[in-house]
Symmetry: C2
């Protein structure tokens, strides 16, 4: 079987947005009680919060509080998002939900009224598409919530409910809110708030497939799937892929699987997974022993123990060997998400760790995904702290922001960073060097192109020497970072010496400075 | 102020349908697991119940069970409904709800998926309108349900919820499902399933107004309002009327108020109420001491004690004096509903009681409303028994059905029965005689027209004699029922003698047999 994944993802740089926390519409905030109309669409932008009690926007996030971010706020920030070089957005859930992260779905067909509802989403989707920005939604199909209509009916009517077989009912009565009695239904992570679907019921299966189809027809560009490994019904994800791709063959399907994902990356299910294997390795190498263990130990990825260059190289080789190349190109690479602490906090505030890891991510095969705020150096421990509001401009870390902008721009400029072959050149001590190579042989529209990327994670400068013949190209032009490049001739052999300053990285193209 | 009410209601005969119990789509039943397409609309008529567990259609109703009636089923029965002479349907709630009567609203914008969802309703609405049948929906705006999104959010997030002020929260924590602790929120009838809105919150008020507008714009012809007297926020129902009528000035607004409704029938709020005052009087006169007390005592209307003709006449005079005539013409008259026992059961199976009361209703000012099944003599005690499924044709009472068809046809044929003046002519013993009169003076499109209606509730034949001059017209032509009409001359005075057989009624027009 030939594995096929969506081309656009190979060239995408994602921005992950947690909708309650990114932006609150200025129009709304400025005119709280007025009905605001968007000049273009004549759509009412009114929301129901004249008297709603939001948590203070600037205050540290809590488990249950809402900040009141909305989709119109995101629309107002599309200039900013575009200025980063972003061309795809992954939204954590936006459907109606009684939780600030919206993973407790109340209605799969309604965008949360607090976010602006389906009308606001349609407007945002159109605005994003007009800027060539793709939009991927988060689908939570393993479980719903206690308030989800069909489960609520079982709560209200017990064995009389027609929907009993939609869930994993174990006995009567159900105890949705009290801890004293057994819940009597299967729930995700033993959390009574999250009743699990019975996916073996063909009605449930059909129900979920239709949701997937509905939003693809609505115009979204793909699905990020929450805990998809929990659904064990044979053929479920194969049917999901078939039905989604039948509507839009270029739709992206990316699963939340933290570890070895071969089971789902056989070409018949997902186009990629959230690449926590990469995240762990990149952080363990770039941040090394700076990693604050309490920020990572409770999560199912490995940003520790620290890695030397050779260990990092080995991990990356293993990772690249795990899945077909076509899949590698559409993995969703990340350094942080709503489910982890932010890298800045993991690294104890060490900016170089952030910059080095970002360099690794932006030069790796697969679509990089920037967790909103990471590009301006936002801090945040494990959740809910990692879900702080996007900071005011005065609090931005300009150095981190510049790093992101530069690296994203280079990724867009050089196709080899996106689809070129990946080749480790050097891995000793804390110096890691690799190349991304587009060859003539490659059947693609792009020119021959080769780049060398070096990362020195150590606190001393580090030097590597290569025979140029062995290297097969002559990088000397610095596109990013600093490094001393020296050419030596040993008899007939030309050697290249690369001296990389401490805690820094660089990208070199063929040619001279 | 000139009171204005919708003209069409004056000429309407309503059919009240309890959607779970009227009809199950044959197409669906016959091909349970297949996706059925309606030939005309190409709309999929698929429903999610391959594995759903319905209560047996024929079994007696229970408090919590669903029978699985649906809107497509109703569509398939429009020929039948039209054949009765019905030109308006009042649906008890159809919005998504975890209760078989659907008064526990889960989502005001979604027609229940079990009924076929919004798509099925649109199809039904169009089909009804193409037959000149109006459609009125039931709006439950005093309270919602435990699963209603905004209340559910308060359950999930407690004081952190932005929607706290949407309800009547009295303390924390809330106890929605356990009886051990105080609920800590205001609920209708102390029923924790039904959290009451805080209508004093402008957001709530706006939310409800927009629902009302949405469905009027969708195409419905009016709202029946559930327990509207519970909403005491000043100006609430005035604004409701203004916003509904701004979209459709002919929309009908009818409140569920069982007693004296002058407070809401001042012309600025409702066009009418569910006329339980009429129902009580009509049953008390027509069924008399046959009324089974246990079927009526728990309800807030007076089908007992038995009334003699003079008492009935007095009650009717009081009722007609209570509201402006324009309102009288758009009252929703009824003999039974989902909230009462059916008349057949109240009268202990006495068919004549049903026929006499139906005669009184069909000749009274205001729109008669037939509770589905009453027209074929369906039995049913107070709920849930009064919500039995519509019976198979083999179980229909043809006599009761003929009575309904004849009387509805006469109501349509004779405008005076709809908009004519009401004049009591005779009320002695158990014989009650009145006239409906359209005069030249009336500013309307209709001819002069006068009908005499007599009801003898007694078990012996009864005779009344009038001077024709005093009567002002000469009825002699039997349109309905049996009666001996005799003309006597006493000197220069012509007298009319009317001899009405026991337990029967008649309608007489001007002229001879």
């Amino acid at each position: 079987m030939q594995v096929q994944t969506p081309d656009w993802v190979k060239h995408a740089v994602f921005y992950q947005i947690f909708p309650d926390r990114f932006a609150k519409s200025k129009q709304i905030s400025d005119a709280k009680s007025k009905q605001i109309y968007d000049a273009k669409s004549k759509q009412p932008r009114k929301r129901l919060f004249q008297s709603a009690s939001w948590e203070d926007w600037e205050a540290m996030p809590t488990l249950q509080g809402y900040k009141g971010g909305d989709l119109w706020g995101i629309m107002e920030q599309l200039d900013y998002i575009e200025s980063l070089g972003i061309n795809a957005i992954y939204f954590t859930p936006i459907f109606q939900s009684a939780s600030n992260h919206r993973y407790h779905t109340h209605d799969y067909y309604q965008v949360d009224p607090m976010l602006g509802g389906n009308a606001a989403f349609k407007e945002l989707l159109d605005a994003a598409h007009s800027r060539n920005i793709k939009v991927v939604l988060d689908g939570v199909f393993n479980h719903s919530s206690r308030g989800f209509f069909f489960f609520h009916d079982v709560l209200e009517n017990g064995p009389y409910s027609p929907w009993v077989n939609w869930f994993k009912i174990e006995g009567w009565p159900l105890a949705p809110y009290t801890g004293d009695a057994p819940a009597n239904y299967g729930s995700w992570g033993e959390n009574r708030a999250l009743p699990e679907f019975n996916h073996d019921n063909p009605d449930v299966r059909e129900y979920i497939m239709e949701i997937a189809e509905y939003w693809i027809e609505f115009g979204i560009d793909g699905w990020r799937l929450d805990v998809p490994f929990e659904i064990k019904t044979p053929g479920f994800w194969q049917e999901f892929r078939d039905r989604v791709k039948a509507i839009n063959p270029e739709a992206y399907i990316v699963g939340e699987v933290w570890g070895d994902s071969r089971e789902w990356l056989d070409g018949t299910q997902f186009d990629g997974v959230m690449n926590y294997i990469f995240a762990g390795a990149a952080i363990a190498f770039a941040a090394g022993d700076r990693v604050v263990l309490e920020q990572v130990q409770s999560r199912d990825y490995q940003p520790y123990p620290p890695l030397f260059a050779a260990e990092y190289a080995a991990k990356i080789q293993d990772l690249l060997a795990l899945y077909p190349w076509e899949i590698q190109l559409t993995q969703l690479n990340l350094l942080a998400s709503h489910d982890t602490a932010r890298l800045m906090t993991i690294a104890g505030g060490d900016k170089d760790s952030v910059k080095l890891a970002t360099l690794l991510m932006m030069t790796f095969p697969g679509a990089p995904s920037v967790y909103y705020g990471d590009e301006v150096g936002l801090f945040g421990g494990i959740d809910p702290d990692s879900r702080r509001v996007f900071p005011l401009e005065s609090a931005w870390d300009r150095e981190i922001l510049d790093t992101h902008k530069k690296l994203i721009a280079l990724r867009h400029q050089y196709p080899c960073l996106r689809i070129g072959e990946y080749k480790t050149l050097y891995a000793q001590g804390e110096l890691y060097i690799f190349a991304r190579i587009l060859n003539n042989q490659s059947e693609n529209e792009f020119e021959n192109e080769k780049l060398l990327i070096a990362v020195n994670a150590g606190t001393a400068s580090a030097k590597a020497t290569f025979g140029v013949a062995e290297l097969d190209f002559q990088p000397g032009k610095l596109l990013y970072g600093d490094a001393e490049v020296e050419w030596n001739e040993e008899g007939e052999i030309q050697n290249l010496s690369l001296n990389v300053p401490p805690r820094s990285g660089c990208i070199l193209a063929v040619g001279n400075k």
